[in-house]
């Protein structure tokens, strides 16, 4: 992380008084062109099991999802993180986003064309569609959460 934008994020995390959990979400959903790492997302998923961290994480995700077009990567990467949290995070993430599904649903028409004329909004629109469908399909979501937990247990050597 040696780019100017990473430095800016780090400075803002400090000066704006973001908590550790919030700084982690901001790093994972920054404007850098590479995606959030598996380690970052896994760490965030673990944190959602702590109530205080959960609230803080939701606050930043909400901000990022509602960011302006130019910052389409904030929205796009937040959707990637959200997808991960819905599978591996605490049940509270599922409840929260079922309750606020319209935040994701209304991103299905997200628009942003960059300076080179490339339609960057398409990424956001597709991801918003996928997550909306997942949130509305209770049994598929349950099944995916179960199989993920099962796999995790096996890998840790604790499962049945």
């Amino acid at each position: 992380h040696d780019s100017a934008s990473s430095f800016k994020t780090a400075t803002q995390n400090y000066t704006k008084g973001y908590s550790d959990a919030q700084a982690k979400v901001r790093d994972a959903t920054s404007n850098d062109p590479w995606g959030p790492s598996g380690t970052q997302m896994n760490e965030l998923a673990e944190l959602t099991y702590n109530q205080q961290d959960f609230v803080e994480i939701m606050e930043i995700l909400d901000k990022r999802l509602n960011d302006k077009g130019k910052n389409w990567r904030h929205a796009f990467k937040s959707l990637i993180v959200l997808d991960y949290l819905l599978h591996a995070g605490s049940e509270n993430v599922v409840l929260y986003f079922k309750d606020n599904i319209y935040v994701v649903k209304t991103l299905k028409e997200f628009q942003y064309i960059d300076e080179d004329g490339k339609d960057q909004g398409a990424n956001v629109r597709q991801k918003a569609k996928d997550i909306t469908n997942l949130l509305m399909d209770e049994s598929r979501l349950r099944e995916q959460r179960r199989s993920r937990a099962h796999m995790r247990d096996r890998m840790l050597g604790e499962g049945p």
């Binding site: 606050e59 929260y96 606020n100 935040v103 209304t106 028409e109």
Partner: protein, 277 residues
């Protein structure tokens, strides 16, 4: 109300700006980011009243493009906003009628007929929802509603007829929009009004398909349903043509997936048939 971290005063102040920008005089699509804020507002606060008030105080009626854009915003809020928006919209019929009355016969940029037709469609939509409150603004498929209808075949028959009437109205409105395209001009503003129409017509189509199938399963006297079936078939062909024409509009296909219907209508007697998705 909201479980999201929000600030009501800030939301109200921003909403005023969002409405103003969504209904600006430029002949473009209402910017989706502003429309989205309006929709999200209704879910956060379970109210659309500030939106209606906001539309009233904007000086939009003197400009046909602004009026048309306001109607697109209204349509999208009714479709995707909190269900209360439809209820509150039913109290706004006089404002909607004023929109239709104020514009001169065809307007300078040719939006006059479009505005009048849009208003009449929105009023029909509001009437439909008043008599069938079990439907949401986009007619998104919910199995229980179709089952509720067929328990009472008379009610089911009436609901399907009402849905088909609304579908016919979308059909004539979309034709009018296509007829008002201007060569050599940017049609973005007109095209953007097709987006909610594609979504709505497809929701209605899916509903009618599943309800009619359920009716066929339940009834012994299939002749009774024949008039509905022949009307269903003809709507299928019209809709197919509509979607085909939309699929040639690059601006529109960049925003939504336009459904592709089969060459022929699905078989309604095939009880195992899947609902189109």
């Amino acid at each position: 109300y909201p479980t999201r971290p929000v600030d009501k005063d800030k939301a109200e102040a921003e909403l005023t700006i969002n409405i103003k920008k969504a209904t600006s005089p430029e002949e473009t699509a209402p910017k989706q980011k502003h429309v989205r804020k309006c929709i999200v507002y209704t879910w956060d606060y379970h109210s659309s009243l500030s939106i209606w008030t906001g539309l009233r105080v904007q000086p939009i009626l003197s400009d046909e493009v602004q009026t048309f854009k306001a109607l697109i915003v209204v349509h999208k809020v009714l479709q995707e906003g909190h269900p209360i928006s439809i209820k509150e919209g039913q109290g706004q019929t006089s404002w909607l009628e004023t929109c239709a009355r104020t514009v001169s016969s065809d307007g300078q940029k040719g939006y006059g007929a479009l505005i009048r037709s849009y208003v009449s469609f929105i009023l029909s939509k509001l009437r439909f929802h008043r008599s069938h409150p079990e439907f949401n603004g986009l007619f998104e498929y919910e199995e229980y509603v179709s089952l509720k209808g067929i328990d009472d075949p008379n009610q089911g028959y009436e609901t399907i007829t009402d849905l088909m009437n609304l579908q016919d109205q979308i059909e004539s409105f979309q034709k009018l929009i296509f007829a008002h395209f201007r060569h050599s001009a940017n049609n973005e503003c007109r095209i953007s009004s097709l987006v909610p129409l594609v979504k709505e017509s497809y929701g209605i189509y899916r509903f009618i398909t599943s309800m009619l199938r359920a009716m066929y399963r339940r009834t012994d006297d299939q002749d009774v349903l024949e008039p509905l079936r022949s009307r269903y078939n003809s709507q299928h062909y019209s809709l197919r043509k509509f979607y085909y024409e939309c699929s040639n509009l690059k601006y529109l296909t960049g925003l939504i997936n336009v459904p592709k219907l089969g060459q022929d209508p699905p078989n309604l007697l095939d009880s195992g048939g899947a609902v189109p998705d």
